[in-house]
């Protein structure tokens, strides 16, 4: 297959000469996918970068990027549309909690008691969820006029060769990409972005809030059911997961961790342990829906009634998007 990003042209002496490149959907998805791994890399020279190694720093950069999407601070963002990427605000707090967990393990030398599978599982889930979800959002804000046209075309197996070769260097890629189906579109992503458009157009503030909550739940369904479940929850070797699975549905991107709505890490050591009540029956469908809804409703309530505090915390998190590796 020819690569549309490689174009040959004859040089000339005229300044600012241009050559037309026709980009198809695969090219466009490659462009935005590139943005996700560059966000997690440190430049090392012209056209060179190195992936951040420290898992906590990665999680903080991810949290920072999610916060920037919510606050409309990314390239292509529109400040007047703040609130449309509502899941991103919750995602920022969730990824911050992942970072805090790694830092707590490092500081307290608890690593010996935490299995490699747990550490890798948490890092893998956070990393690939970011690769998946950030690219949908970057496409929407940068190239919104072709978003609908290319929505069905995303497939990591069809990215242009330069991006594909970079993807092949990313951690856990052999395991992850088939499990998350090469990041093809899901009905939940379609529903989530359909709601983004409705949020943008809604003139009734209270109805807009309902749309925001529905958007958040749609993206959460995608995140939980399409990405994290096949990627880490279903892993037969994931002993940690098997032991603590009861809490998985409680806590979004941070399977066994309590979500704390602050930019700071909690000083309460208990938060780094499983927080699900012992008796909870998450094999019951309605309990599962209830726990997911509880976290969403608590977040939703705080975003409505304690907005100044919540957005100040998100602004603090947003500063981590380029945090130096350790």
């Amino acid at each position: 297959m020819s690569d549309p990003t490689i174009v040959e042209a004859v040089t000339n002496t005229q300044a600012n000469s241009c050559v037309e490149v026709k980009c198809d959907c695969n090219t466009m998805w490659s462009l935005v996918q590139q943005m996700s791994y560059l966000r997690l890399s440190t430049p090392t020279g012209e056209y060179k970068a190195k992936l951040v190694e420290n898992y906590a720093v990665r999680a903080r950069r991810i949290a920072g990027t999610y916060a920037r999407f919510y606050l409309e601070l990314e390239d292509g963002s529109e400040v007047g549309k703040k609130g449309r990427f509502y899941w991103m605000a919750l995602g920022a707090f969730a990824s911050k909690t992942v970072a805090c967990t790694y830092e707590a393990w490092q500081v307290k030398a608890m690593s010996a008691t935490i299995s490699k599978t747990t550490k890798e599982g948490l890092g893998k889930g956070n990393f690939w969820l970011f690769c998946d979800i950030s690219a949908w959002h970057w496409y929407y804000i940068k190239y919104g006029n072709t978003f609908d046209q290319c929505l069905d075309s995303r497939n990591a197996a069809n990215y242009v060769s330069a991006v594909k070769s970079q993807m092949n260097k990313l951690p856990w890629k052999t395991d992850a990409l088939p499990k998350i189906k090469q990041m093809v579109v899901s009905k939940e992503i379609k529903a989530g972005f359909d709601l983004v458009k409705k949020i943008e157009q809604e003139g009734d503030i209270e109805e807009r809030r309902k749309l925001q909550l529905n958007h958040l739940l749609a993206i959460a369904d995608h995140e939980q059911g399409v990405i994290l479940q096949p990627l880490i929850y279903n892993d037969p070797d994931f002993a940690w997961w098997v032991q603590t699975q009861r809490s998985a549905w409680v806590n979004w991107a941070t399977p066994n961790l309590e979500l704390v709505f602050s930019h700071a890490c909690s000083t309460d050591k208990a938060q780094y342990k499983s927080v699900a009540p012992k008796d909870i029956k998450l094999e019951e469908f309605d309990s599962r829906m209830k726990w997911i809804g509880d976290a969403a409703k608590k977040f939703h309530r705080l975003m409505r009634t304690d907005t100044t505090y919540m957005e100040a915390e998100l602004r603090a998190i947003a500063t981590w998007a380029q945090l130096a590796d350790k």
Binding site: D204, F261, I280, F285, L302
Partner: protein, 279 residues
């Protein structure tokens, strides 16, 4: 659900005894609520300004929650959890818990599977009892005034934000077309009640069992109207409300005009709940 209130004398959660009956009162202080059910209410300091008060029934038997509201009081059964916030700072702290969220199952055995048709009928039986307790069905002020099948069709084909008419029981086919989160909204004597449903997304075959969760949201009249303005304007909601109401009325009128031209019947007899006296 029944329309009477369970007794709520102070109870203590001793040893393995599980308290299953809880009554909630809008605007009660969180600390008072906690005192009535010592050992049952979990308090979370979520932000420096807000505490959450929560009761969860993680195992069966689940809870029975009485929503106290005089002659409009309701009893909700098979409750999995009750959640409310208490502000700690500012004048809003004096309003106590001005909004409750209650999650309830459909009173079916574990693992909570129920035929979709049975879920439909159970839900509408609950709605019928709410109507019998004197709650009046309402429509969002920005949405067209529709009733019966016209409202359902609009919810399915245009936007589910119009909500549903609790007096019109949909067919199973219509029921299956409803999006999760679609609501029935009610008003009674200065209190607002919204009921929405969740449907397990992996169990959508109408011929096989599904699983459902009902979400009840009860809020004070003040909070209902305060939510009409942007979050950062909450403190001055009374000043902003008149202009906001005009804007919402214009939105409704525009949609209703469009619907009338298409021959869709608009319910002109519908009246919005009263607007509170503004300071």
């Amino acid at each position: 659900m029944q329309s009477d209130v369970a007794t709520d004398a102070p109870e203590r959660n001793r040893g393995n005894t599980v308290i299953s009956n809880v009554s909630i009162r809008l605007n009660e202080k969180g600390t008072e609520f906690s005192k009535r059910y010592v050992g049952l209410v979990k308090v979370t300091h979520s932000t420096p300004n807000v505490d959450f008060y929560q009761v969860d029934w993680d195992a069966r038997p689940r809870g029975i929650v009485a929503v106290e509201h005089g002659s409009h009081s309701l009893v909700i059964e098979d409750v999995l959890g009750v959640q409310a916030a208490q502000h700690l700072t500012g004048v809003i702290a004096d309003e106590g818990m001005y909004e409750f969220d209650i999650s309830a199952g459909m009173s079916v055995p574990s693992p909570s599977l129920i035929a979709h048709d049975e879920a439909r009928l159970k839900t509408y039986a609950i709605l019928q009892r709410i109507l019998e307790a004197g709650w009046v069905p309402i429509t969002s002020r920005s949405r067209p005034r529709l009733h019966g099948q016209a409202r359902l069709n609009y919810a399915i084909n245009v936007s589910n934000s119009v909500g549903l008419d609790p007096r019109y029981v949909p067919t199973l086919e219509e029921w299956m077309k409803l999006e999760r989160g679609t609501e029935w909204r009610f008003y009674a004597d200065h209190i607002y009640l919204n009921i929405g449903f969740e449907r397990e997304r992996t169990l959508l075959d109408p011929l096989k069992p599904g699983s459902y969760l009902l979400n009840f949201n009860v809020k004070s009249e003040t909070e209902h109207f305060r939510a009409y303005v942007e979050s950062e304007d909450r403190a001055k909601w009374q000043t902003l409300l008149p202009a906001t109401l005009s804007k919402l009325a214009a939105m409704r009128l525009k949609t209703e005009t469009e619907l009338r031209t298409k021959g869709i019947p608009v319910d002109d007899s519908y009246q919005d709940p009263p607007i509170p006296a503004l300071k």
